[in-house]
Symmetry: C2
Subunit: 656 residues, 2 copies
Amino acid sequence: MSTSTNSREKFSVRKLLFGEPLRTEALPHQTVNKRIGLAIFASDALSSTAYATEEILIILALAGTGAATLGLSIPIAIAISLLLIIVTISYRQTIYAYPNGGGAYIVARDNLGELPAQIAGASLLTDYILTVAVSVSSGVAQIVSGFPDLLPYRVQMAILVIAIITLVNLRGVRESGRVFAVPTYFFVGTMLLTLVVGFVRYLLGDLPTVVNVEAVHAGTQTVTLFLILRAFSSGSAALTGIEAISNGITAFKEPRSHNAAVTLVWMSTLLVIMFLGITFMAHQIGALPSETETVISQIGRTVYGEGSPLYLAVLAGTALILLMAANTSYAGFPRLAALAASDGFLPRQLTYRGGRLVFSWGIVGLAAFASLLVVVMNARTTALIPLYAIGVFLSFTISQTGMVVHMRRIGKLKPGESVQGHDTVLYYDAHWRTKMFISGFGAVCTGIVAMVFAVTKFTSGAWFVVVLIPSLVYIFSRIHDHYRDVARALSLQGVPVDIEKRPIQTIILVDDVHAETVRLVNFAKSLDHPWHAVHVATNPDKIEIVREKWRKRIGEGELVILPSPYRLLAEPIRHYIEQIQEQQPGGFVHVIMGHLAMDTYWEQILHQNTAVIFNLALSRMDNVVVTSVPYQIHRDELRHARHIKNGVNNGTVAQR
Amino acid sequence: MSTSTNSREKFSVRKLLFGEPLRTEALPHQTVNKRIGLAIFASDALSSTAYATEEILIILALAGTGAATLGLSIPIAIAISLLLIIVTISYRQTIYAYPNGGGAYIVARDNLGELPAQIAGASLLTDYILTVAVSVSSGVAQIVSGFPDLLPYRVQMAILVIAIITLVNLRGVRESGRVFAVPTYFFVGTMLLTLVVGFVRYLLGDLPTVVNVEAVHAGTQTVTLFLILRAFSSGSAALTGIEAISNGITAFKEPRSHNAAVTLVWMSTLLVIMFLGITFMAHQIGALPSETETVISQIGRTVYGEGSPLYLAVLAGTALILLMAANTSYAGFPRLAALAASDGFLPRQLTYRGGRLVFSWGIVGLAAFASLLVVVMNARTTALIPLYAIGVFLSFTISQTGMVVHMRRIGKLKPGESVQGHDTVLYYDAHWRTKMFISGFGAVCTGIVAMVFAVTKFTSGAWFVVVLIPSLVYIFSRIHDHYRDVARALSLQGVPVDIEKRPIQTIILVDDVHAETVRLVNFAKSLDHPWHAVHVATNPDKIEIVREKWRKRIGEGELVILPSPYRLLAEPIRHYIEQIQEQQPGGFVHVIMGHLAMDTYWEQILHQNTAVIFNLALSRMDNVVVTSVPYQIHRDELRHARHIKNGVNNGTVAQR
């Protein structure tokens, strides 16, 4: 009876573009080891080293591009690394406390309640969008650094890259960890090699200074604490993405908390080494912030020499890891949206699993917002950075504050006791005070950074996020209120229930008289209620033909013709039904329509008439019940029909 | 009974953005006089003077920017003007022959048959898209000429302008002719004034040469016939839009053919004066083709002096008329698409009138394609020109060839005789030979230009259109074949008709038990067939609650629980129905679902569950009939529900 197998064997453009329908049962339940886990979850965090140093230099350049001023990047990078170590230690605790996944949304919901969870959710959704925009913009900047001729096409390239990632994700990839491992380890390999070669040349006194950089205009501000804090904020974009492992703990092999925690430490270690190494190397070669060449490119061509294959490898590796980082948002954004939807804060449909259809909305939405940002900001990483990271630090703060509450709840347990919470199990822990202090200290640090970020970047773009996140939280709460109001309006508590039978008047909508019409009549007769057919005469020439066909082929039941001088479809039906309802108040009007079901997507598009009529005319009429009777036409039937040359019906084209 | 009036009084975001639903009956049947008609239909044609001269100069500059070389623009412009006069005379005849509207598609369909009509249709649809892309790009270039700081944001500005025009058109404007008249006459006024002032200063020997132009790189080619033909092709973009009046004859007051014909002559006269005037003036001031400043801007600031208000008025007027030109495509594209759809060459749904919904697809499609072109071509008019005009000249040629056939058919009539054709009435005309010759001559001229265009512009972009138009024609014919095949497959000729009753098994899909569920049960009971309810247990915690509510509130009929361990929705329903069908082959399975109808659009989005389930699970199952039972909740009911504080059902959130 099922025809899906049948249609799957045939060629279809939809299938080519979007792949087989995703079967949830087939989702890989395989788990990964630490090395693959690092590759999968580290791309977002590690890729931020591609722009973090540069963003520090761009702010410092406001006070001039002298070596002393730009050299401030080194203490700033060290401070950021310390922050990173604090957050890492704190997040290790979250990984052990929430072995089923401890994203900021879940930790906040479990410990702090609805509002903080919504703020964390809004922050994370915003930052998923920004991760795509920033990573793609920076990736394109790396490519453009190697091929300056492409500079005028930066925006177009970025949009193209987003389009490709989107298509790949709509199509769905069997996410094989090994495939992910290649770009991550390629980037780590080339970057570490570059730093080592650079460091050796530095020790040998053989490291040249970078030449031919079209640097940004050197500013004339004085070095103030505010400027240093601004540079610090920009560089703290290096911390984005380190929460990825705590979201994905369930993907690790058992003991999964242990494996995830070890991977987190590996990742943070690599991140600190690379970030400090790049910042140091940038200083040694005298790298200058530039609109046309990234700092990574300057380091690469100074260490290896212009045009060296290794230089191009560095650019390729950096562009690739940034692409992978953008790609991770395509998994995270729809997943978090589904989570928020199941709590009633986003449209419920986002929670349905099965079929790619629903999941696709999240992917397309993410791509649209990220593209918009790229276009508005001209694909300039520096313009996007002030919007970025503020949401990340907000969610860090909320998550760690949640952990403080979590540890206090653990502190109330007796030795050996455990309690089943909503999202995890609380086990007694003698060290709860220490852990609470660590989480609290982390929360205070990231909270301060979030505030420093909001203040120092306010005028250059952070104001937008400061407005956006409360707006999103407001929208979420409006949606939640709406569902609650609907629930109350539908509630039957204390209301007498009336399920008595009522009269039903059945109407068949007829456009032409053919096999599909027979099916409709067949169903209407089977229902055994009073029925008649209705034809809306959008084409007056057809009236007599339809009437004649009806008489000859159906031969029973009344056929009512509704005139439609303006070729309207919806209005005559609506008026006719209103007349019937006046004559028979309290009854149901039952409208039966055909729905031609085709094997392929493009054929189906040509036959969405039922849906169109329903939306235009009937979806808002009370007590009007609409039935859609499918009539399946398979490709082989169509092919067969095509071969009946000079057939009796040749030349007549059905209206649907 | 109707609730639309009710909901219209309330605020809604949809209404704010898209306006009231369009009532076809309310479409203005008012007609316009010649002056307003000129303003409405001339913007497309007149606006092409904003770039035609410049495009000639850009090609000539390939052979250097000397005065002698660029001076070739004058004879080229004269040749183009002659062509324009020929086409005008020829199209006057079409206006008289097709008083009900004589677009190329209709003339071709009426005289030449299906294939030429489809080629004309594909050409015109393509050119509507290009009109938007070219006009918006050129309009932005005018603005950027006055404000060079905006240069890096050209693409973004163009996309923003397209977005605004799109929103305005989705919202729908009561197209008042007077509003259209302002920009058209403002442009004509400022441009003619500029030409007169410039000409007077030229006669007084007081006209300076333009300075500070960042000219395009002067090429080193020699002046060949090929180069001159290429420049001629570029300049012939000036002819785009002159067919607009012949499409819109019915909008004119009676005698409409006469009024339309007079307006056409006025328009062409203005077009020739402005095009030749601008080309002459550009030569006198030594205007240079430039990537950063339009020729119009160079003329404006040379004639009036830098920073003069009149200079800014010229730029504003030019930008405005280009915007109006882009806007005309937003009416033409959906109208032509509907015409092709009613002939079965595009999806039928495009033909439905009433409600803005369907018409919107054409507008959104046009905007998407035009934006894509703008992004790919970096909003550079010069890059878009090779794609443009080839379609226009193809449709000119087809239309005039159709008129040759038309005149020959008239030649076969006896004096005084008239014949009712498909799209117009053929009257005897003694001068049919002369008229046939004029149309034929016009067809030959435009046909040659189309070929010159395709050859000289082939490598710079015309190849794309040369590939695109046949592809579109192929797609149109595939769609047409599909409708024909479906008609044959559905045909009942010679097939025995079986409309016997069959058993019906009714299933109610139940998510929760509330007022909507009562309505479903009410309808199922009224049908009087065997029925039971089904609940898909995506949330196992809810099973007992639903079962208990069912027992207490409904108290009859069986409630079947379908387990769904993976939280799938579609699959369990489908498998269950397949089981029923196995037990009862040949019967109908009748699935009844609720549909919550809300007053506002954003609320409705939160309740599209029925549509989602239908699309995911049931739309392709044969003999499964799906009924949607609406349950209307109005805003005041929701508001009422919100005020039942501490109500009995407080805190419980319904699942739909």
